[in-house]
Structure formats: C-alpha cells, structure tokens
Symmetry: C2
Subunit: 328 residues, 2 copies
C-alpha cells in the first residue's frame, strides 16, 4: 500500500476508538500572534498524546495478518509506551515496554495501568534499540518502533487527515502547520496526509533548543546529530537525530524548522491553560511556543498548531502556571 | 417555535462558530467510578464555557428580527458575561455587562477583552436583575437573562443535541447525563434536546453543597431558596433558587439531584487535569465530583458528564493540583 492508502486504512480502522480532536481558536491568541491560529489538541487523544494513533494503526494492522507472535514490544520515553500499552490491551495482545528510568512518573504509572510489562534502562549507558531487538527475538514479540515504522507514521498521519478536512470545513485554503518533532513520526505522517488532501499547506517542525537536529538536518540536507550533553524539559521529543524513514519525507515536504527554549515552552503551556483550558506537556507545547515567539518567520495568515500531548507531572505544570501570562 | 425547533434553529445557526466538543473517555476513570463515563468538555467552548452557546443563539436570533435596539445587556458572575460579550462582538452589537465586584479576575479581564462595557455591583447589597432592567430601559438595550430566556435555554440545548448524536454514534442506548446546575439553563436545555432525540436518557442536576436549591426543589416540587449566609468555590453556579422557566422543565424531565462538596470538586478538577488533560473551573467540575463521590446512587451503566467551563484563576487551580489524586 502507498503511504496515503496506509493513512486512509488507519483512519477507517480508528472510528470510535481514536478521538477526532477538534480545531480550537481563541481571539486573544490570534491577536497576540497576529495570525489566525488553530489548535489541534492531541492531548485530548486516548492516553493523552497523538501516539495512540500510530499504536492503534500498527495493532489493528497486525490483527489482519496471519503471522504468529506472542505480543508486542516498544521502547519509549513514555507517550509511545502508553499508546502501545493501551492499543495492545484493547486488542488483547501482551505488551512489553522499555522505558528510561528517568521518564516522568505519570507516564510510567499509566503504562503500567494499561497492563503492560515495563523494563527500565539507563538512557546514558544503554541503547534502547538494541534492548528492543533482543527482547523481540527472544520472546517472539513484534517490535513497534516509535517513528521509523510505516504503520506508525500512517497512524500519526490520521491527525493530518483530520486537519485537512477540518480546515476545509472552516474555509481555510492555505496554512502553515506547526508540529513538534522528536523522531519525526507525527510531522512526517501529517506531511504525507496534507500532500494528498491539502497540498497548499506546509508542515513546519518545531523542536526544543539544543535538540534541533531536524531543523539543522533540513538546512544541511543530511541527518545531523545533537550534542548528548544538553538537556531540556521536553522529555517527549529528545531524540538524537531524525528518523531514517521520516527524514526523507520531511526533506521533501517540510519547510524550515523552528526552535523554542524551555522558558518559551513553559509560557506556551500557561497560554494553553489560560486561553484553551488545555493541559499540555512541555514537548506538546513546543509548536505553540514557536508560534508565539517566532511569529515573524511564519509566512501564512493561517497557522495550525498541533499540541501533541499532555502527560506532565503536577510540579512541572505548577511551574508553568507560575510564569507570566502572555498578554496583548 | 417549539422548544426543540428553537434548539434545531440554534444548532443550524452555530456551524463553525460554536465548537462541537467531543465525547472523551478514560479507562482509569471508568474503573474508579465503576461505570462507562463520557466527558463532554464545554471548557473547550469559545470563551471557555457552554455559555457561548446560549449567547450565540440569542444574538443570532436578534439579527433575524426587525426590532431596533442599541445593543445588549446581561448580568452574570462571569461565564454568561464572556459568552454575551464574545457573541455580541462577532455580531457587531455593543454589549453592557453587569458583574459582581468579586467575580474571578480572569472572567472580568476576558469580558473586557471581548470589548464589552462592564458595570460592577455588590452581590450582597444590590439586585442584579433590577440593575439590568433599569439599564435596558434607559439605553434601549435588549436584556439577555442568563437562564430564564427561551433563546438561551435553546442555545444550551445544542449541547444536548450533540450528546444525543455522539452517544448514538458510539452505540450508547441509555445513559444518565450529569449536568452542573446554577439557574438551570444548561440542564433544562439538555433535557429538552434529549427528550426529543434520546428519550431514554435522563438528566441529573449536580450542585455545590449549600447551593442545592434545585435538588431540594425537585424533591419538594416547588422552587426552594438557599441560605444566603453560605459560600462555595463554585462561583459560576451560586444561584439563590431555580429559574422560573427552567424549573418546570427540570421538574418534568430530570431525575433526583446530586450534590458535591468543595473538597470533592477540587479533587474532580485534579482528576480532569490528570486523566483528560482538561482545565475545569470549580463549577465546571461539580458533575464529575458527583459521579466520583456519589456513584452508588447512579443507576445506569453509561454516565455522560458535562464539564461546563474552565475559567479558573491560577492560584485556585494550583490548589486543585495539590490535592491527592484519585487512584484505583
């Protein structure tokens, strides 16, 4: 199947299981940014992030195949973990999840609550890809990579599918679509859907400061790597380099990448709290942070901002609440 | 027009202007309550509460009439204020809003931001209905009452219209619909829509402790009055007695009323934050608080909970965050 066929298949398979999140707007935020801004709140998705889309896509595909396997395995800082755990449970398939020891508490607890077996590893000393492949082989589990997996990219693409149709219904003819970017599964999936359904729209990746591998790779044309020494509050999207499958898609379809600092991200979280009544995690607020603080480099009148997730520990959310509100 | 015709008219008139909020569910919350729970997040509505539905209904009706008037006037603790201010601005109609001096800061600021003129009064010493009627007469403004107004009830009814269709799409054949209740505009509107579109569903009003006038009135059969001496954090729904127009509707269509304490409401806000990534104000979380803490008196398997608004000051929200999470 072609990419868009996979996306269509994923969309049709997800009715009543994946939330069709609305497009939200707010007059004050429009005035602050000086554009028409539309928020796609994937924090309202099952498991609190868009990752459930890709997980559901993979699991529902497996059900239609003949292969015999004992379950699925995934590695993830937490959102893919919850997505796979929940989708596997709904499909009655056992799941093993490999998570870093320092993943946010809420993400570990939720993954366990969905009934998955969790194996911890040390982000600084071990390579999660190696652990994943070893366990998959030993236990005959199917490995579901977080972004370098066509079925996962197609699932994330259903978000772009919805954006295209919802924008059309609102009479939006052209837009820049800002998407947070770790490995690039969400941005690549959205870009593929828009290429087919809203070809005038352009995707722009948004990354945390010091983790701007995609922005730099889009400039240089090859997959750049981040310094391992830096840190960020945006735990969900701290990948070392763009994906092997996702980068060629973004290279073809995405505009110049945007970057936001941790402070800007915290203020974007406050802005989402105040004006949209949404709880966003830091990685989920990067795209709005870029729209708020780099609006001068946006070209189009309509900006669609994907808020990718909301799984944030309360102490960090309280920190965002205590930042200064952005006013006119 | 009949009630249901008014609701249909309001629904048709609101396309692309009023957000069709989704129905959200969460496995963990289902397990906690022991029922299938569906959240209708009206905090995502334009202006952060369902009140925009009723305001839009009234303003769009006025546009189709011949009457000459200089603008609209409304009295409100804050959510009806914002709804009217925003709907009036979109219709290019001047708005005067009468608000209590002690309304939450965020509600006053937002009402001003929508371009309305705000007049303050003292909740303990003045009667807002009298001020509203006096100003309406003097300035030739149309008074839009917050709940005792058929066009407003019809607008709120569009929420029930959506609930009926969304529940049908999910295969839900029977449900109790829990709705927070101040004057009763939202619960009466929803009850009217469900009477027509999902007659097996039943509405149950939810009120803060000490402000359970509707629950008591539904028991006694006549409009009971609250003690004026008590207080509650649920600023949005602190009305003295059920509405003249709304109570007969609720008396005919609603089940026994539910009540929740301030502490229960704060924990329901935390639950909405953690599991649904939603920001609810206290009055907006009363129905979930009732579902969480009075589930033993709910009769049906499916429970639809309306989260009516999310306009809450940060210090109060931080207080909710600091409460203990509800776990299995």
């Amino acid at each position: 199947m072609s990419n868009i066929q996979l996306i269509r298949f994923a969309k049709n398979n997800s009715t009543n299981r994946v939330v069709e999140t609305p497009l939200l707007s707010n007059k004050k935020v429009n005035q602050i940014i000086g554009k028409k801004v539309f928020i796609k709140p994937e924090c309202l998705q099952v498991t609190g992030s868009f990752k459930f889309r890709g997980a559901w896509s993979a699991l529902s595909h497996f059900q239609n195949e003949d292969k015999v396997f004992n379950g699925v395995v995934a590695y993830s800082s937490g959102n893919h973990a919850q997505g796979i755990a929940a989708a596997a449970k709904a499909h009655k398939v056992p799941a093993v999840i490999i998570m870093p020891m320092d993943a946010p508490r809420i993400k570990i607890e939720n993954t366990l609550n969905y009934g998955a077996e969790v194996i911890f590893y040390d982000r600084m000393k071990e390579v999660r890809e190696d652990i994943g492949e070893k366990i998959a082989k030993e236990k005959n589990l199917r490995l579901i990579r977080p972004y370098d997996e066509p079925l996962v990219i197609a699932g994330q693409g259903t978000c772009g599918w919805e954006i295209a149709l919802q924008a059309k219904a609102l009479g939006i003819k052209d837009a820049e679509v800002l998407v947070c970017c770790g490995g690039g599964g969400l941005s690549a999936g959205i870009a593929l859907a828009l290429e087919e359904l809203a070809p005038s729209f352009s995707v722009r990746t948004c990354e945390p400061e010091f983790f701007d591998d995609t922005a730099r790779s889009l400039c240089s044309g090859k997959r750049e790597i981040n310094q391992a020494s830096e840190n960020s509050i945006c735990d969900a999207i701290l990948t070392p380099t763009p994906g092997e499958l996702t980068f060629p898609i973004l290279k073809k379809l995405a505009g110049k990448g945007l970057v936001a600092s941790d402070d800007q991200v915290l203020r974007a979280m406050k802005c989402l709290y105040e004006n949209f009544k949404l709880v966003a995690e830091p990685g989920g607020a990067v795209a709005l942070a870029a729209a708020l603080f780099s609006s001068q480099i946006l070209k189009k009148e309509n900006i669609i901002v994907v808020v990718s997730g909301g799984n944030v520990d309360s102490n960090l959310f309280a920190r965002a609440l205590s930042t200064e509100s952005i006013n006119l």
